[in-house]
Symmetry: C2
Subunit: 455 residues, 2 copies
């Protein structure tokens, strides 16, 4: 029998991350200080980030070495398998070959630890003893709790109150790894106290939780802030996914025609896509089709503007050039909570703008329908976020059925769905609602971009 | 760096299961018909089981070939990694080497699919179109749903009402794989209707759910019953775990001194242990120490009698010779729900009785404390059941610290804990209670064994 899984040995894990910033067709526009609206300096950032990560954020070196201490922890679950979805292919009756990179085997059940581990490590090296961060549905809070556990650091996670109350188990997972998980808004910070005074019964928001975590980090010398997506260094750490995938395809003596990931803040997509972007830009594989799949309910890349905007709702984070729906855009509460970000990674945005990669958007009902097909053919019950990438892979495979093309399609299967069964429940009981954000509301939200009036 | 994980290639998956029934020091006592109390015949069983599985149940062939169709599905997640717990060793400051076999990578998150897949397969081959089964906490119901999905069979899972109401997500997981999950007692069967008439508000019991599933299977020609543990053929299918483990140790040119698994019905323990039992009995490794770890709240092997007893609470299942606490023993509601069985696999029981393997029992608080240590050193948050095996491995490693012995210890890490975070929550909020079943109550329950008066 042909192997179903393409595995690598631990000593074949790539030794360096790939930095797409070295290869961009045109340079990134600089992030701006949210107060002065002038280009941000490393000094602006060093209150909340270690210099090593700030260095990675602006680096144009093509490859950055993975520290041995990080590699040692990656080896708990990496290299992850690349799996041929042969039973799905048969169910679709497609001539295409579909592969998925399976990141669900990590202890947190998703790709997030790929960056949580190095972020904790670099902070520890800089003498930082505690990380403060926010989490919405809990994926990132869990991953960074896992990361800090390995370097004997403390960790404080501000979790959006509504999720905190609905998902007590996420808190327990963070506790198991030694982190403290606090409902936000909290009385721990000025930001939290001010919000609670105004809205004592609020369910909180990601914007408020970011404000609390940033304040906590900025007001404690031993504490830094950490972000789970969007930023350049986060995308950098995730490239281990795509680099491993390329080594795995090399063992098959093949190269994929189509590379797919789901897009929220952009990091899991970047992790899979950027090594293929490198090959597309250097001309070695000019025709590789690279696709980001996002929810129709938060259509940043497909309906947003490529403009400067605040990274957070409150306007405290740097102003960055990206595809955005406006920083006070409030996406409806879909099950793919990890894809509900108003903006997107500047690197991913730039590559969409330059036409190197393209984006598609889906409704959650069609996404869950395909996730159920996947469960019944390939066995794994996957996260609603990852299911957007699956849906795109299935669409591309069905196109091949029309044309007869025997394309090789790969998607990043970024996490298991064992924490997301409420989404499957809603699909089965018929309560899943599809949202298409009214174009008029998007237009209104986009009128409030901070730099529009400076033009 | 030395590899942290010892992997096998897919073509190194053992091609045959190992049947310990071929090597027992003394033969098993035959199961008895629950009505006549005479030795059960294959005919007694064929109303609810396919002949191929009945054949495996009584076989004394040493190896049984794994069908290609089963192997093809095993290859989705098998071979599973054997992982060196080096960071745990360092935390314990032990000279021992600790390895764990990681079964949490399966789509259901545990070892259960190792038998769910072949059970579904053999039933399909016999022309059976539907499986009826029961589930308590949901592990087995999920696994058999996963198994039947792959052979286009229907599946009806009778889930204990109390769990059904508390854990709606388990139902969604079964649905994702295409199974129907019904709260038991239900109006679907005579057994269910009778119980509901008497106790309209009952939360149900595993015994009642078994009765419903067996009745469903016995009264529908196209339907069979399936059991997730205890029976010989279930233990047989699980031996893939220990056989893989042995191949992995062979790559290290070593053989473990101590082999550990947790014991409920006995199947995950048997799966790890029996290949080592073979080597102990044939004299090639006479000194290997093989240990089953069970909960103090349900101390079947450590406090039970080795006697004939009913396999189920209602007394409908065959009477089997095993360690038992009595078929109407009701263990307290501990978090390791998978270890709450009044009896134990006849094969495991026989080997304990013969002194080939030994058993230990733990309280859930000490078990969870070690699970938290494991999460913070090795990363994985594991199931409370598996944590019993971990606790035993840690105890053995700490003994090595006393004696200075550099033993090699391996335990079967049978599943992840992402569905069991309530146990961790209870541990952290201090609400975890330790139960030691009063010896007097065990004695009373043991007075009701069906064959005692026949002696």
């Amino acid at each position: 029998m042909e192997n179903r899984k393409i595995m690598l040995d631990e000593n074949e894990i790539p030794k360096k991350w790939y930095n797409v910033n070295a290869d961009l067709p045109t340079p990134l526009d600089p992030p701006l200080n949210p107060v002065t609206k002038e280009p941000a300096t490393p000094d602006d950032l060093k209150v909340i980030f270690p210099m090593s990560l700030i260095g990675q954020e602006v680096s144009t070196e093509k490859y950055i070495k993975i520290p041995d201490e990080v590699m040692d922890i990656y080896r708990i679950w990496r290299p992850t398998p690349l799996i041929r979805a042969e039973r799905l292919e048969k169910a679709l009756k497609t001539p295409a070959k579909i592969y998925y990179k399976w990141e669900g085997v990590s202890p947190a059940g998703s790709h997030k630890p790929n960056t949580a581990i190095p972020q904790a490590y670099y902070n520890m090296k800089d003498g930082i003893e505690r990380i403060a961060t926010e989490t919405g549905a809990g994926q990132w809070g869990s991953a960074i709790s896992f990361g800090t556990a390995f370097f004997d650091m403390d960790c404080t996670v501000y979790m959006v109150r509504a999720s905190y109350d609905q998902k007590p188990y996420r808190k327990s997972l963070m506790q198991a790894w030694g982190a403290e998980c606090i409902a936000s808004p909290s009385t721990r910070t000025n930001a939290g106290r001010m919000i609670l005074e105004k809205y004592p019964n609020t369910g909180g928001s990601l914007g408020a939780a970011i404000s609390e975590a940033v304040e906590d980090a900025a007001t404690h010398d031993n504490t830094n802030y950490a972000l789970g997506s969007v930023l350049n260094h986060v995308c950098l750490h995730q490239t281990i996914i795509g680099l491993e995938t390329q080594k795995q395809f090399a063992k098959l003596d093949t190269y994929p025609d189509t590379v797919i990931g789901c897009v929220g803040g952009g990091s899991n997509f970047a992790g899979m896509a950027f090594p293929f972007v490198r090959d597309k830009l250097d001309g070695s594989h000019p025709d590789v089709d690279i696709i980001g799949a996002e929810p129709m309910a938060c259509p940043t890349l497909t309906k947003g503007l490529y403009e400067y905007d605040y990274g957070d709702t409150a306007g405290l984070a740097p102003i960055i050039k990206m595809y955005t729906l406006g920083h006070d855009f409030m996406p409806p509460s879909i099950h793919a909570g990890g894809l509900r970000y108003h903006g997107d990674s500047p690197l991913v945005s730039k590559l969409v703008k330059e036409g190197v990669i393209r984006a598609v958007a889906y409704h959650q009902t069609e996404v869950l329908r395909d996730a159920v097909l996947f469960a019944r053919t390939e066995g794994h019950v996957i996260a609603p976020e990852s299911s957007h990438a699956l849906k795109c892979a299935i669409d591309e495979a069905l196109k091949c059925k029309e044309t007869g093309e025997e394309k090789t399609i790969v998607f990043n299967n970024s996490g298991h769905g064992h924490f997301d069964l409420a989404a499957y429940e809603a699909y089965f009981d018929g309560s899943l609602v599809d949202y298409e954000y009214p174009e008029e509301l998007i237009k209104q939200s986009l009128k409030k971009l901070p730099m529009l009036n400076n033009k």
